[in-house]
Each structure stands twice: as C-alpha cells, then as structure tokens.
Symmetry: C2
Subunit: 601 residues, 2 copies
C-alpha cells in the first residue's frame, strides 16, 4: 500500500471551508458541477496516483532516461501513465465542453495536479506539459492546428512541450537565435538549437509537439521579434503518414533530481528539412508564450508544494514510529525510549513543514480561485482577479519553490542519518525539490517580475487589490477573540510591506531602476511571507468557525492542528520579515556598486 | 589544471593578519616553527590537494564504494591517497615531537584540513579519522596500545574509526547495547552492532582500528556505564600474524552525497571471537570519546566550510565567464550580452557566499587558535581558552554546516539550469554538503549542547569570556571611523544576544528545562550569526590597517573586497537576528505543549 503523500481532509478543508469551491457552481460556466462531483474527482485523482504514480516514484529515479542511437528511452511506465492520464480525461479536465473537456474549475484541476505531483513529480510533468501546449494552441492558434495536434496530445499518445531556452539564451529570451524562414506554403523552415527541454523527446509517445519560440527572418530585434511555432518531431506527409521533421535530440542532461523526466537538447533543421507552423500573429510569440509560462509558474508552485507535502508526511510517519532518547525532563535510562515526535525540536521541524506546505498550498488554491473568477465572471468584472493573479503568480511560483527546499530539508533532518541514505524516499524529495527555484524563470527573474512589473503596473492597482484582500481578511479575523492578536500582527506586517514598497519607489525616483531592483529577490521573499501569513489567517478563520459548529473529536483535532500551525507561522515565520524589511529599507546599493575585481581572491 | 578551490591569499590573511599565527612561535611548545615554515606547509597542502585529491573528486562520487562478499571496495585512489597522507606526515602533523609528530599549531594543521576538504571532502575524511583515533589512544590509552596501533594508522597503512552509533541508539548514546565481557587476559570479548561507521571498512588499507563504545557487563545504566575499546578488524595472534577479529561488515549505506567514503554497518562478535582492549578506565568511555567528538565537530565545520568554499569559487568562475542578458538600465538587444556577475542579484548571491565562507572559516581559525592557546599556555592560564573553545565548538560545527548548505545552494543557483546537471561539480557539492547538519551530533543536539551545557556551565563563565572577546574587538573597531557603525551594530547585536540569554534563564526558572531548551536550535542560529559578525569585524580591522599600509593595487583590491563582504554581512545577514530574537523572546511553549495527535491530517 502506498504511504500517505497527501491529505484528502486538508484538500477538502481548503476547497470548501476556505475557498468555497461550491459557490463556483453558481456561475453559468461551472453550473453543471456540484460538490459531489468535485469530491469524486479528488478521490479518483488520489486513487489514480496511489495505483499508478507513487509505486514507480523511486524506480523512475533509479532508472533515469537514456539516450542511445538518437533515441531517448524512458521508464516503461511512462507510456502507460500517459495513456491512463489521457483515458481518465485528466489532460482535458479544464478545457471547455465544446473541445471535449470537462470545464473543471482550476481549483479542482489544480488540486488534482498537486496530488499527482506529490505522488510522483516527474510523472506529473508529462501530461502537464501536454495540457499547457494544447491550451496555447487553443488560445492563439488556428482551428486547423488544434485539430491536427491537440487530440493526440490530450489522449496521451503525443507529448507537448514548451521549447524556449537556447544555449546562449537561458533567462535572456531576447537573444534566441532560432530562425524561421517563410515558404509561402503555410509553413516556415525552422533552424536552431534548444536546450533544457522537459520531456522534449522520449519513447513513451509516438510524437512530440514543440511549442517553440523563434524569429522570422528580418524580425525586429529583441523580444519584439519573437514568434511562436508548432514544430512536431514527426510531421504528416500528403498521405497522412508520419515522417521525420528534422528535429534531432543531440543531448540528454543528467540531473541532480527530477530524474524521471528527460531534459534534452534539440538540433532543429540541421538538414534544412524542419517545418514549423506559426501560432497566431508574427512577432507576438512571447506574449502568447507568457500564457503557458504563467500557467507553468503556478504549475511549478504546485509541483514544489506537492514534493514538500509528500516529504512532510514521510517525515511525520518516521517521527511517530522511530524511538530515540527520552524526555528532557526525565532522562532516566531505565525508562523506554520515546518516539522522536515527542522531542520539542522534532515537533518544531514538523510544524515548520506543516506551516510551509499547508500555507503554500493555500496560496496556490487562492490563485486557482482567481483563475476561475477570470473565467466565470463577465468581462467588466474580471480585471481585478486578473491583476491579483498577475501579482501573485511570481509569489505562488517562488514561495513553494524556495521554502519547499527548506521544508524537505527539515523533513530529511527528522530522519537523522537515515535521511541521508537511499533506504528512504526523503533524499529523493530533497534532490527533486531543488529544480523549482530554477525552471520557469529563476528566483531572480521572479523577483524582478514582481517588483519591476507587477507591483508598478497600472499605478500599483494590483498591489492595492492585494492589500485590500488582506485587510478584508483581518477585518473578519478581528471579530474572533482568539484571532485578534494575529489580525493585528497581520496588519502590522502589511504596513511594513507597504512602507518597504513606498521606500523602494523613492529609491527608483532618486537612484534609478538598478538600485530599485537590486534586492528584488528579498522583496519577493518578504511579499511571500506576507501572502502566506494571510493564507494562514484565512485558514484560521475557517478553523475557528468550524470549531464552534463541529463537535466530532477527530474533526476538532484537525481544526486545533490548523490553529497550532497558524500560531507557528505567526510566531516563527512572520518575524523573519523584520530582518528583510531592515535590509530593504537600507538600500545602500552595495551590490550595484560593487565591481567584479573586488571578488578577486 | 585544477580549478581554484581555495584562496591561499585569504588563508594567509586569516593566519597572519587576523590571528597572528607567527606569535605562537613565541611559546615554548611552538618555538621551533616560524612563518616561513608555516607558509611552506600551506603551499605543500595546496599542491598535494591539487595533484592528488581534486583530480579524483568527481570520480570517487561516480564510482562509490561497493560491498561484495563481505568486502568493501573503494576507489583505487584511496589507497594511494592514504599512503601519501602518511608519507607526507599529514596525519601526524599536530602530534608532539616525542611521538614523531611535527607539533604543528592547530591554526596551521586545520588550515591544511580545510584545504584537503575543499579539494575532496570524502578523501579528507579517511586520514582525519585516523588522526582522531590515534589522538584518542595517545590521550587515554596505554603506551602498549599506542605502539601496537598508532604507527600503522599514522603511516596510512591502517584506518582508524570512531564507532559509536547503533541501530537503536543514534543520538541517544545512553542506549547502546554493545557488550564487553572481561576475560582476565587483558582483553574483553565484544558483541554488538554498529551503524553509520565512516570509513568503517575498506580495501584501501590492511586493517581497520575501531575506537568503539560499549558497556562492560554489569556496568551502571545509561551514559555512566559506557567504556571505550580498541577493536581492530584483524588482531595479531601470538606469532604476530594478522587474524580475523570477528568484525564483519553487514551492510553498506548508499548515500545522497559524500559518496567517496563508505559508511558501513558492522556485526561484532557474532562468532563470539571478537577481542577489544579497554582504553583508560572502565565507564569513562564517553568522557574520552568527547575529546574525539569535539575535535570531529570542529572537523565537520572545517569540512562544511571547505565544500562551500570550493562551491563559491566554482560559481564565481562561472559567473565571470557566462554571458547572459544585459544591464537593467540599458536592455538594447543590439548590445552584446554581459557576464552574469554584473547582475546585482548574481553579485548578491556571490557576496552571500563570500560572507558565509570567509566568515565561517575565520570562526574555525578562531577556535583553532584557542586550541593552540590551551596547549601552549601554562596550566593556570589555559582555562579561559578551554571555556571559549567549549562554547564555540557547537557554533563552529553548526554555522558552517547549516549556512554551508545555503551557500552551496546559492552557488548552484548562479549556474541556472546547468547547476542542476552533472556537467558541473556544483551539484555534487550540494549533495555532499547536506551531511554536515547530521553527523557528529545533529543541529538539534548542538543547540542543546550550547544552551543546555555550555552557556550555563560554571555560572556562565564561558559566555562572559565570549562577550568580553567581542567587546574587546568592538573597542578596537571604534577607533576607525569607517568601522564605527559596524562596531555599534555589533554592540547592539551582542546586547540582543545577552537579553535573549537572560530571558531564557528566566524561562528556565519559571517553566523548567523543556521550555528553556525548546528553541535551542534557534538560539544556536542567533549565536552563530553573532559569532560570525564578530569574525567579520576582526577581519575588517585587519583590512582597515592593511589599507593604510599597503599600496599595492592587487592587495588594495583584496582588502576592499573584505570590506564589502563585511558590509554585506552586517547589511544582509546580521539583521536576521531580529526575527530570531523576537521568536526567542516569545517563549509561548508552542512546541512543548503541542501533542502528537494534532499532527493528524
């Protein structure tokens, strides 16, 4: 039987008690759904993960992909997994009914994605990429492109990818050199190289469909000249047969973790025989791709919190069963040893994990709800939620990614020496988790996105909506006497964030953009702590209400556990703002002014 | 040629400009040495490491030890390395002349250990363990034991180990069950099991000599009944031939990192034929072993800072050569891309590493100097340095261990996606570094050692000496106008530490030891930041003085770099005290009072 890797109870708490998922069914777009159906989807996702994903989690790591004779061989279960993802309708879940989707709210679909990632992160990436690639064609491509490529991706027969990065253009997309030459036949001839392409080639599928960035000949320089193409590994000839499209896997990367999924290097059009089909308008590729990138950023957050959640339950289980040492108050060696969960320091490490993973998951759910609102609401009312989603996307990507590593590391620490050995899964979680601050825009990029774009866009409207959301929450929390101190602390923290933001605006005016953005990563960290504290306050309100109404013993314990984690977050994590704010209010420009030579020796 | 993994310049700065190593030669015990000799030792250690250790760093990871037919096979270079360590006199370095040692100051010997660890941590562990084991016999064992076992360990022909941990007694040594039955023939019959024994068996040596904890039949319960034995893998029979001593390797652990060194499980005396020789007096084993453990704790700090240092230089080199993106102030895509070291966020990550590794190394050197003082000074004057060494040992173990991981992780982040792949060494540093908060007493254990023992011992005398040392430093720093603000901030931080300590004493009196120690890990963190800030202030003073006297351009750059790192530590790291202090002054007993059931779901 699979060990516990997610908590169904906690998911339901977030979905219904914190985010009121049932209320979504009041909107036209989601009216066919109901809570019972949501529950079934969640239950099925857990069952699917237990049966299909979790059992091969370790094995996919131990037998990573191999490149031989130009072919990428992956673990045999990848083929089955993708087929079953397709058959179960998991890839089409959030697509509209008219495209054979289930029109599932993102709240529910992302809860499922979280479950899959917790069970087996690498395995969850394959269908996730296909869903994103399909959505991109759906949003911006022609119906013909959709009909040609989407059905096979959605059924799990073909693999979708996002192909952005190049050897000389990692975070700097302005510098991509992949070219597209018009032919006058409805397609372009593509040439170039791509690296770090996740699931970019493998034998678990019959074809791979790259959503690829390139530049049409004579396009404007920089990001304004980037276009988006569909570039399949095999294209269909005039008789409908699949023939090679001159996309060759020239390398396979050997990674620290996340080994169940191949990351490849591609040589495109080396024989001058690679065709690509333009998606949407020329030179608008980066804008289109941002849709997939933003979804992927939330997806990274989901993956990160999934891994950290599984690691949390693994260490919790170990801490409950492993006996070692005695109470500090009575060390009599004649007494039996106690489970290590009874040691305060181990409880602290477990509470840290609980506070991080349940707080981060709540933030993900918050963003998912915003997505649903932008879909369900009429045009005039969407904008607020688009802005909220926009400003929280780098945070929802980054907090789980950075804090997920800390969380898994604390989980590993609970195992002592055993955690460092591969007898337990925890060391794999530790390796897997490290990818998240890197892919889909590094932490540095997220910080600049938040402070350089999102906070200042539209005269700071997104930021104002964000603070408004928090103040609405503290106003409710104020009404409960046990929550009042936390509401006050939240208010104070928000004021700190506002002060820091204002100060940085001043820096921007006085010293320019380099000084303004120099500590953007720390600003992102500060923002993340604030956002997750807010999520804990929301959970505290829900728990408080439930404690009044629910007398079931197990339920009471669940809600009291929530309350303790809230206290932990406000007692141990939120104070970290102090040091960050002190630094951000300093702005002495240390890193801007320092020159390279000073690093000598 | 080996890439840079340590800075000779920085080592000399610490040795001579900060810690005045030459002055040691004024003491009788060290009078045969001089600076020229010290310099030669350092230079030789670097050469040795470049030629012998660094070239097999990756290979030893890729081809980890294997257990087959009861034999542990290690990388073939281990044999050569140990022999060369022996031949070069590196294992005997700090032993007294009368035992054929070089009577090297610990300042110098530990600088060498640091160099070895930076070049190849796994390789550095083998001779380090032999040196510790030999020192233990030297200190507490008979001359006969010494003559039987030490020469072969010191020449690198035999391997020394410390054999403490058992399956049911990891951090809880009170619970070890290895037994020793007296025979009346000068030896004991040993039976038991040990796990996680580093270098506990391998084919790079002809014999393995375990310094093993066990309990003599009818010994008092708990730690008071622990004795120390020499238990070799092969013993000498009456004809001086090596015969099996019934110590069998029953398991080999597969580890996340630190793979160049085997960690084994031992079955001892299963055939009732294992002989062990008592070291010193019965039931005093733990006290003796603490000598080796304390040395090993400093050794872990050295290993941790060694790994982080090598990772720092690797990421620095990458950041200087990798071009990506443009200045935030001018993103014109027609301009060439810039080396990533010119981005403020990358500089921040590099400065973080510089501040952590050079600060932590300074702390290690500080402790090494205290060791030298306890050796060189007459009995009446030693005590102060013994107390200072005692209180700083958990800090010198923990700060490099925990912050070393953060440092390496930032180094990895500088590489972007490449850092996650095994084309570069950085991912190995990341895996290797994770061992340090676990072995030789976990972080939790170190926190309790500091707060539960060291801070309160002798009515807080060690703590008072520590604050006195810092205040002496700030008094000097006050005299330099550029250092004055840092001296003030240091004073303030020290006051915070004192307030927190006083507050915790109050908690102890009012609520007892469990509450007192519940956040000991955070106290350790706070203490570590204070101690390393002090080390930076010391370095700042030395750099300030040198800037006045030295007009060489390269030297000026070196000292100005020191100054920037000092500013970084005080600007970015020291403020982290705020959040920690806020938490520690809270003491609501959250983790003491929380019960296991509240972790349900």
């Amino acid at each position: 039987m699979a060990a516990k890797f997610v908590s169904e109870r906690n998911l339901k708490f977030l979905l219904y008690e914190v985010f009121n998922a049932d209320a979504l069914t009041g909107y036209d777009y989601y009216q066919e759904h109901n809570r019972k159906a949501f529950d079934m989807v969640i239950k099925e996702a857990i069952k699917f993960s237990k049966n299909l994903l979790y059992p091969v989690f370790t094995e996919m790591d131990r037998k990573p992909p191999e490149l031989a004779d130009g072919k990428v061989k992956v673990h045999p279960s990848v083929k089955t997994i993708l087929k079953e993802f397709g058959k179960g309708g998991w890839i089409t879940g959030r697509m509209p009914y008219e495209l054979d989707g289930d029109q599932l709210p993102h709240l529910i679909a992302n809860a499922c994605e979280f479950i899959f990632a917790a069970a087996n992160y690498s395995a969850s990436v394959y269908p996730g990429l296909s869903a994103g690639a399909t959505h991109l064609i759906e949003s911006f491509g022609s119906r013909e492109l959709f009909d040609t490529y989407a059905p096979s991706m959605l059924s799990g027969k073909w693999q979708g990818t996002m192909a952005l990065t190049e050897p000389e253009a990692g975070s700097s997309l302005a510098d991509i050199t992949t070219t597209a030459e018009p032919t006058g036949h409805g397609y372009y001839m593509i040439r170039g190289q791509k690296i770090f392409i996740s699931a970019g080639d493998h034998d678990g599928v019959e074809n791979v469909v790259h959503l690829m960035l390139g530049k049409i000949k004579d396009a404007p320089p920089g990001v304004k000249g980037i276009s988006l193409f569909v570039v399949p590994k095999y294209r269909l000839d005039e008789n409908g047969r699949m023939i090679s499209n001159d996309v060759v896997t020239s390398g396979l990367f050997h990674k620290l973790g996340y080994r169940g999924c191949p990351i490849v290097q591609l040589a495109i059009g080396d024989k001058n025989n690679c065709r690509g089909w333009l998606v949407g308008e020329p030179h608008n590729g980066l804008r289109y791709m941002f849709q997939m990138m933003n979804e992927a950023r939330i997806g990274v957050g989901i993956g990160a919190v999934g891994i950290a959640t599984a690691a949390y339950y693994a260490s919790l289980d170990y801490a409950k069963t492993r006996r070692q040492g005695r109470s500090i108050a009575n060390k009599d060696p004649a007494l039996p040893q106690i489970p290590i969960i009874e040691h305060a320091d181990v409880k602290r490490m477990l509470l840290f994990q609980k506070a991080v993973v349940e707080g981060a998951l709540s933030l993900i759910m918050q963003c998912s709800k915003y997505v649903d609102m932008t879909i369900a609401l009429p045009d005039g009312e969407k904008e607020k939620y688009q802005l909220l989603l926009g400003i929280l996307t780098p945070v929802a990507k980054n907090y789980p990614s950075e804090m997920g590593i800390e969380s898994v590391s604390r989980g590993l620490q609970c195992f002592g020496g055993s955690g460092y050995c591969d007898d337990y899964m925890i060391e794999q979680y530790y390796r897997d988790a490290r990818i998240h601050p890197i892919h889909e825009g590094t932490t540095g990029i997220q910080g600049m996105d938040l402070l350089g774009r999102k906070v200042v866009a539209q005269n700071g409207r997104a930021f104002m909506f964000f603070t408004e959301e928090i103040r609405n929450t503290t106003a409710i929390a104020e009404k409960f006497s046990e929550l009042r101190p936390f509401a006050r602390q939240m208010d104070e923290s928000l004021t700190t964030l506002e002060n820091v933001t204002r100060h940085l605006m001043q820096v921007f005016m006085e010293k320019g953009v380099e000084y303004y953005l120099s500590d953007a990563t720390l600003y992102l960290e500060l923002f993340g702590i604030t956002a997750v504290a807010w999520q804990w306050l929301l959970q505290g309100i829900a728990a408080r209400k439930a404690l009044e109404n629910d007398s079931d013993k197990a339920e009471q314990t669940f809600y009291r556990g929530k309350f303790i984690a809230l206290r932990y977050f406000f007692g141990y994590e939120l104070p970290k703002m102090r040091g960050l704010a002190e630094r951000l209010l300093n702005s002495d420009g240390l890193t801007v002014e320092m020159t390279t030579e000073l690093f000598n020796d």
